[in-house]
Symmetry: C2
Subunit: 216 residues, 2 copies
DNA sequence: GTTGCGATGTATCGGGCCGATACATCGGAG
DNA sequence: CTCCGATGTATCGGCCCGATACATCGCAAC
């Protein structure tokens, strides 16, 4: 999970740990609270051992407008790492559909082919629908067994589920009709040379037309 | 966290692991996915070592209509355990306000005094408001830096935050005016003898009048 | 000037929790 | 009679978190 996120961010540009964490927070905001350094550094070490990334001392190719004055340990993705990233992006297991996993995958949707995007969106919907059915069961069957507060909690959970299903449905419809989400912005403003643009599983490249999505 | 949940459920009635897990799932549904046995059993062992609960072989005082035919290891809360539960219920640290922690505390609100309920509700609101502000920052400041999908993810997260804040606000208002939540049901239908009704921190007992809460 | 503080930056440790896995038993359907 | 699904207890490896400990830089206050 974190592996995918790190590989994805390092594919945009090399970074050191601190920057990485900040990017992780802003990009995966809601679904993944903070990402502790106690997770980040061991993971970086793991990725290094596996050969997906390399470590280099404060390289001078740093973009000047970046806040970091003098990087200590800069991490950079390797060719193998890019392969690994593509592999992780395309595959969708059960962990792809839980809150954290879905969030990470979704955050990289602009680099995922449409078929995979649809597969993930539908898998996530299925998952949430199951949760929703469970809550409906509790609310109808066990209504008398539970106190008012517990019921209110379930109701709130049910509400959130229904809302997410509707959101997913909208996204799925848009995908099918070949539109990107609401987006006021386009792709990422990084040197294209960084991205070899390997066609993941042979599909049209992401970021199609993109009109708008009716949201109140 | 799990400690509080287990103690709370065992205060209602003695149970064995399997039952405990099922109750855990239905009562804490949304906020806490499944609770693996790989978590449950070690925790039970820990609680036992600490002296909060005791283990007894298949006791005959089992309620017949219960699904379990023949309990193997039945766990029962001790007097110390009840004290511990009250202590955990009343105290509110930072972990009380994350998703899991809040869910567990909320699920036991009918056994929490009003002052504590308000404290927790407000703490949670504060937490979500911070998350919301973070998302607003990202959406306004970093709008051009992120791709359409990432933006959509943030928007959805922001939406969920705003909704939860409104929900909390409603609950807080209700608490202040001495009402329970929407609830169509009252308290739990367990023998009152099980609950010594110790006044946690000296406050009026929960479950006041309870009219309704206007939800669409 | 120097002192001290907040942001930047790297790293480890203990512990909670999860998913996978392995068993064993019981009631009932085929 | 046999197999299957629900019930039931338990462990293991591994991810991830919070707390903690350092060290350095730029800057503002005194």
């Amino acid at each position: 999970m974190l592996e995918l996120a790190i590989l994805g961010l390092l594919q945009e540009t090399p970074m050191h740990g601190y920057e990485l964490r900040k990017e992780l927070v802003t990009k995966l905001g809601t679904f993944r609270a903070a990402i502790s350094y106690g997770t980040l550094y061991p993971t970086l070490k793991r990725l290094q051992t596996a050969g997906w990334i390399t470590e280099s001392e404060s390289d001078p190719t740093m973009i000047p407008p970046m806040t970091s004055k003098r990087g200590r340990v800069v991490y950079k993705i390797t060719a193998d790492g890019k392969e690994r990233f593509a592999e992780l992006l395309a595959q969708a297991g059960p962990e792809t559909y839980d809150d954290a996993g879905f969030g990470v995958h979704f955050a990289f949707f602009s680099r995922t082919d449409r078929a995979t995007r649809l597969r993930i969106l539908e898998g996530r919907r299925r998952r949430i629908e199951e949760r929703r059915e469970g809550l409906r069961d509790v609310l109808s069957r066990a209504a008398g067994r539970l106190d008012a507060y517990t019921l209110e909690l379930q109701r709130h959970g049910l509400d959130a589920c229904e809302r997410e299903v509707r959101w997913l449905e909208e996204l799925i419809t848009n995908e099918r009709s070949g539109r990107a989400p609401a987006g006021s912005a386009g792709t990422i403003d990084i040197p294209v040379a960084e991205l070899p643009q390997e066609p993941a599983t042979g599909d049209a490249p992401p970021e199609p037309p993109r009109p708008h999505l009716d949201r109140p």
